[in-house]
Symmetry: C2
Subunit: 323 residues, 2 copies
C-alpha cells in the first residue's frame, strides 16, 4: 500500500479507509459565510471536523487503524500515549469493536480529557509529564499486555484515515485553489496533501502553524527534520514534531507552510465562535488566523479550511482576562 | 391574507414569505447527534437558526416585513423598540433595501447589541429602560420621521416570516411527532404552529418556557391573556408578553406549553455547546432543557427543535462563577 516515492498510503489505501470508517464516523458539514467571503474577496469553505465523533478529525485515523488490525491482534488491545484528542479517539474507536485501549496520559492532563477517555472505556495509565516517561510507560504497558501501538500520526493507517476528511471535503466542493490545514505532527496535513494529490491535483495544499511552534515550517523550508523543542502555543494540538512518515509526504505534496502569531489564533478562534456560531479549538483556528493576518492571497480564490476539532474547556476561554 | 379563525397569516402568506426572503436569508442546516438520540431513545433534529443571518431566526420575520412594505412607506424607513435580536434583524433587513431603520433601545442595552445595530446601519435612539419610555420614545421617533413601526412579534408579516423556519425544517425532516420552539412574545411559536397546521398537520407543536417567565404557560392553560410582569430568567429572548395576534394562534394550534427551571436552561445550553459544538443562546436551549428535565415523552419519537439563536456575550458564560 506504499507510495513509491514517499512511503505514505497510496490512493487505494485512502479509498479503503473511506469504506472502512464510513459506517462509524460523521460525514461532517461544510459551512460558508457570506460575510467572511465578502471580507476576503474569496469563496471560503469550512469543513467542520469539530462536529466529528469525539469532537475532532482524529476519530477518522483511529477508526481506520483499529479496524485495519487483524482479529488476533485486536484481542490484545491497542495502546498509545496522548494527552489530547488522539487518546479519546483511540479509546472510542477501540470501543466500537469491543477492544481494549490502553492510554498512557501525563499526570497533568486536563480532567475533562481524562474523563472523556474513561467515558469511552479507555484504560488509563498515568505517567510523568515528559516524553521520556510517556515512552517508557507505554513500552511497559505494551510489554505487559501485548497491545499494538497506534501512534497518533506516524502510522500509515492513521494518515489514510485522516486523508478521508480532505477527500470528503473536495468531493463536496470540487477542486479548490487552496486547501488549508493546521500542522502539528503532520497526520492531518500529510493525509490532506495525499488526497489532494491523488484525487484533486489542481488543489494547492497550504499548512498553517503557530509562530511559537514552527518546527514544521523550519523543517519544510530547510528540507531537513527539525524537532519541536520548546513549543509555547495555545494551539495544544500543534506542539508535536513531524514524523518520519509524515515529513517526506509533506515535503513532496505541500505547497507552503505559513506561520501565525498567538494573538491571531485567539482572534481567529473568537471570530469563528462569534460569526459562525461554532465551537472550534485553538488549533482549528490557525489556518483562518493566517487568512486574517494576510498571509494567504485570497482575492478571487476558492479556499477550503479543515476545522480540525472543537474540544475546548468551557470553564475559561482564552480571551477572558481574570485578575 | 388572514386566517378566518385566528387572524394570523394564511398558508399563502407563508409561502409568499418563503419566496420573498429566500434570496436574503440562510437555509440553515439541520443537525443530529447519535449520542443525544441514544440518551433519549428518540430521533432528535435541531434546526440551526443560530446560523441564521444576524445570528437568530428574527432575520426571517424582519426581512419579510420590510420587503412587504410599499416603496412609498419604505422611503420613510421602519422603526421598532428592542434591546434584543429584533433590533439587529430589523436594522439588517432595512439595509438590504437601503431603507432607514430607527431603533429605540434602552440605555442599559448590552454594548455588543448596540454595536451590532450600528454595524448594520441602524439609527439608534436611547430611552429609559422601561416599557413606558420605550413606547413614548418610539411614538416620538415615528412622529418625527413617518417611519412604519415593525413590532417584533405582533405583526402578521413577522409571524409569516418566522413561520418559514418550521416549514423549511419540516420539508427536510418530513412530518415529526413533536416540533418544539421556545416562547417569548410568540412570533416564532405562532408561525411554527401555523406551518405545522397548514403543511404537516400530523406534527404536534410543543412550546417550552422558563418557569420564571411562564406567562405564556399561564395564559395558555387559563385560556386568558396574562402579561409577563416580573420575568426573571437568563433566557433574555423570552421575557416578553404574548400579543393580541400571536396568543389566539397559539391557543388554537399549539398542543402544549411546558416550563423549565433556570438551572436546566444553563445545563442544556452547556450540553449543546459541549456535545454539538455549536453556540446557542439561553433562549435556544429552553426546549432541549424540557427534554433533559423529562417533560417530553421522547421514547421512539421523531422530535424537532428550533434552535432560535446564537447571540451570546462571549466575555462571560452563565456556568462560570467568579468571586
Amino acid at each position: 500500500m506504499n507510495s513509491i516515492l514517499t512511503g505514505g498510503p497510496d490512493a487505494g489505501a485512502i479509498l479503503q479507509a473511506v469504506q472502512r470508517i464510513g459506517p462509524w464516523v460523521n460525514k461532517t458539514p461544510v459551512l460558508t459565510s457570506r460575510t467572511i467571503n465578502r471580507m476576503f474577496g474569496a469563496e471560503i469553505f469550512m469543513k467542520c471536523e469539530n462536529f466529528q465523533k469525539v469532537g475532532a478529525f482524529k476519530a477518522r485515523g483511529a477508526t481506520n487503524a483499529v479496524l485495519s488490525l487483524e482479529k488476533s491482534l485486536l484481542q490484545c488491545g491497542v495502546a498509545t500515549h496522548s494527552s489530547g484528542n488522539h487518546a479519546q479517539a483511540l479509546a472510542w474507536a477501540a470501543s466500537l469493536v469491543n477492544a481494549r485501549a490502553y492510554i498512557v496520559m501525563p499526570s497533568d492532563s486536563s480532567k475533562i480529557k481524562i474523563a472523556a477517555v474513561k467515558d469511552y472505556g479507555g484504560i488509563i495509565t498515568f505517567c510523568e509529564p515528559n516524553l521520556a516517561s510517556r515512552e517508557t510507560t507505554l513500552a511497559r504497558v505494551i510489554g505487559e499486555t501485548g497491545a499494538t501501538e497506534i501512534h497518533p500520526y506516524n502510522n500509515e493507517q492513521i494518515i489514510a484515515g485522516q486523508a478521508t476528511a480532505a477527500l470528503e471535503f473536495l468531493e463536496e466542493t470540487g477542486t479548490l485553489d487552496i486547501l488549508m490545514a493546521p500542522v502539528g505532527g503532520g497526520g492531518l496535513l500529510s493525509g490532506t496533501s495525499l488526497s489532494a494529490h491523488y484525487f484533486y491535483p489542481g488543489t494547492k495544499v497550504i499548512a498553517a502553524e503557530p509562530d511559537q511552534a514552527k518546527d514544521a515550517y523550519l523543517s519544510f523550508t530547510s528540507r531537513s527534520f527539525i524537532p519541536s523543542l520548546h513549543p509555547d502555543t495555545i494551539a495544544d494540538g500543534l506542539r508535536t514534531s513531524l514524523g518520519s512518515i509524515t515529513f517526506p509526504i509533506i515535503l513532496e505534496h505541500v505547497h507552503e507552510i505559513v506561520t501565525v502569531r498567538e494573538e491571531s489564533i485567539v482572534k481567529a478562534m473568537r471570530f469563528l465562535w462569534e460569526r459562525m456560531k461554532i465551537i472550534v479549538e485553538p488549533s482549528s483556528a490557525v489556518p483562518f488566523a493566517a487568512i486574517m493576518e494576510g498571509k494567504i492571497e485570497t482575492a478571487g480564490k476558492r479556499i477550503g479550511i479543515i476545522l480540525s476539532g472543537g474540544n475546548v474547556d468551557l470553564e475559561t476561554l482564552p480571551w477572558m482576562h481574570h485578575e
